[in-house]
Symmetry: C4
């Protein structure tokens, strides 16, 4: 009954409150992903149909970095959504700090279209690469922080094993660590930073899989 | 059976109608929060990669007021969403005026990206500060008005205590009062108005906590 | 078993299919309403803080028609959402034409931000008034057509009385008729058209209320 | 228990996980459809009210290709949504590749507003027609690939007949094949490509109906 302990919602209501929070989060994820398309701009062209056609073809070819940024951000937000999805299937209760952690995470997710446009248009500059990598790493850290809170405040389904928690915590760090490693690299050579992202992410994924992959199962996964 | 009394929906259907209204509201909250990112604009830069990099770095540094406005608006809408969320977990019936109150509230929430962009770009002017503060205070008043209607029309779960209602009503006024107090201040000194917001909000929160905090619990909170 | 008759979904699945369609529709309504804010544009101003402040104040004052258009469109889409909400609480089955009608309705709802911006910026021209009125009337006609289909294809809860249907059909025509009446008026005097909208809508609402209001109740309303 | 086989979620949790994925997908479909309106731009006009009125009328008349593109894209995304809707009513389990297929499909759906704007503004160029047709065909292929995975990984309700699967697979190819056929045509004559779309789609639909239409029923359709 001590005030210092955070309140959690009663069992009956907790389900509905959690569902609403999850649905709200899904909304923000879905909107942020769909708004990414606004970073692709249609050029203003005039002239004969033939001239416009040639110009447009050239403009679209020059836009491949923007399309690539779109695809990367869609995939990364999608990946964070999957982590969120997987995590919340195991959460049984919500407490006030969880709501705050979740809002921080969503605030960073909703921000992603901005660095995505920066990366698409100025992807050869250190500034854009650092801004993008820092945002993506921050999303991952917020997601990791939320996971840690859920574990510590004992909001998870009691069936979840400690091994699963350890694995899942590790897995949540792969993407943010990859993006964070790209930041110092971008100061030396912006073009090398994206390679750092992919190589780190793949390397850590493989290492994680070797270490945990064959042993750990999602508590609600059957095989 | 008198016509003057507002109709309420039957018990069976009421649950579904409420759920749909709540889901719809969550949609508007989530979209408004995610659209805030559109107030951040990527500058148009040309020149050598190095020159663009330096310019972009400078442009991003100069955009910190826009990022701050983004964060404030995200947090304030998030806070109003939490209030909405908490309130509607206790609502058991809907009547037509509740739908109207809710639409007014949502209309103001959906408007927030506009004053947010004003604040981000012209945050040193009285006009932008007043427009922002007035919008945010209006959202709070609409939320307060809706709460009052819910209490008076007896739409709440009967388990909710009068003490909880009094506390909750008070808590709902903290943010709008803070923003309203900033309006006269902005006419004297625009730079002082945001401080008025934060100081009022923190001061009233602390006062409210001291007065009610240790005694009142959400009816569905366990501790 | 004749192929000519439209298939309807089985009872068990019908509930879930309907719920998904309704949730999807709510999404479109909510997004269209929230995108309205993008028609409000923040002016580009430069100069001393004082000069910018004066200019911004003037610019905002000159934007009242855009704010008004925002408010009208939010209210009208909100009204159509309420009609949709009220109608679908009584629908028990979906058939393929209902999905098509609903998509047509949503396509028109999603279009509303465009004539809203036209009206806000060029509200003193016949063109903008006609475009706005025609869009709003079309939304209403699509909503009316969908209602008719629901009645004829017998998709409603059998508890719904014929009196309620007649009333509800009438009520669904109030807004489109009001907007349609404004179209010829706009060709004579654009400034008179909005008055035609409001006067027709209020007059028909009052007439409808006098004719049906005291007798008809929503089948799931208690009083 | 072999690692090579993909895990599927347990029966109890599977329902909720599927529902959340479906709700998330509906969000992306709904937002992409509603963002289409942003491809319609309000012209900047100045001068006397009369001159503006004439200019605006002319501008809107010249915008019919943009309105047409809006309508086509809304209808095509709507059609893909119906396919998604119909398919997922029969899915009983989710596995990790399904989540990935679904994200790829959603990433392409969310991209549609960009080629829609291209088509609306430069619909007489080969480039815009090819970009539009290729995007739309890709959406269809992703949808087809997802359907194939669902069939092969045995995620469907066991009541679904093989005849239904064959029909449904065929039906899912109609739209992408139509758009793909337009691509070579666009290189010869851009104006002929849209006719290729409509004629192919109608022709294949009729052929499919003649071949399968009278025999196959949705497992949850009654007639």
């Amino acid at each position: 009954m001590a005030r210092g302990k955070h309140e959690t919602f009663g069992a009956d209501e907790s389900g509905r409150a959690l569902e609403r929070m999850v649905a709200f989060s899904d909304g923000v994820f879905a909107i942020a992903m769909t708004l990414l398309v606004l970073s692709l701009t249609v050029p203003d062209l005039t002239g004969s149909a033939d001239a416009v056609d040639r110009e447009l073809w050239k403009a679209l070819k020059d836009q491949w970095p923007e399309l690539l940024s779109y695809a990367i951000s869609f995939a990364v937000i999608g990946r964070y959504w999957l982590i969120h999805h997987r995590l919340f299937r195991l959460v049984r209760r919500a407490d006030p700090p969880l709501l705050v952690w979740n809002l921080v995470l969503l605030g960073l997710i909703a921000l992603v279209p901005f660095p995505t446009e920066l990366l698409g248009r100025y992807g050869d500059t250190t500034t854009a690469i650092v801004a993008y990598g820092a945002t993506m790493a921050s999303v991952g850290l917020a997601s990791f922080g939320m996971t840690q809170h859920i574990y510590r405040a004992d909001l998870l389904d009691p069936q979840v094993s400690d091994d699963y928690k350890a694995h899942s915590r590790m897995r949540g760090l792969i993407v943010p660590v990859g993006f964070a490693l790209g930041i110092p690299v971008a100061f030396v050579d912006p073009a090398a930073a994206p390679w750092t992202w992919w190589i780190s992410i793949v390397a850590i994924s493989v290492a994680s899989h070797l270490r945990y992959g064959s042993a750990i199962r999602h508590p609600y996964e059957t095989s």
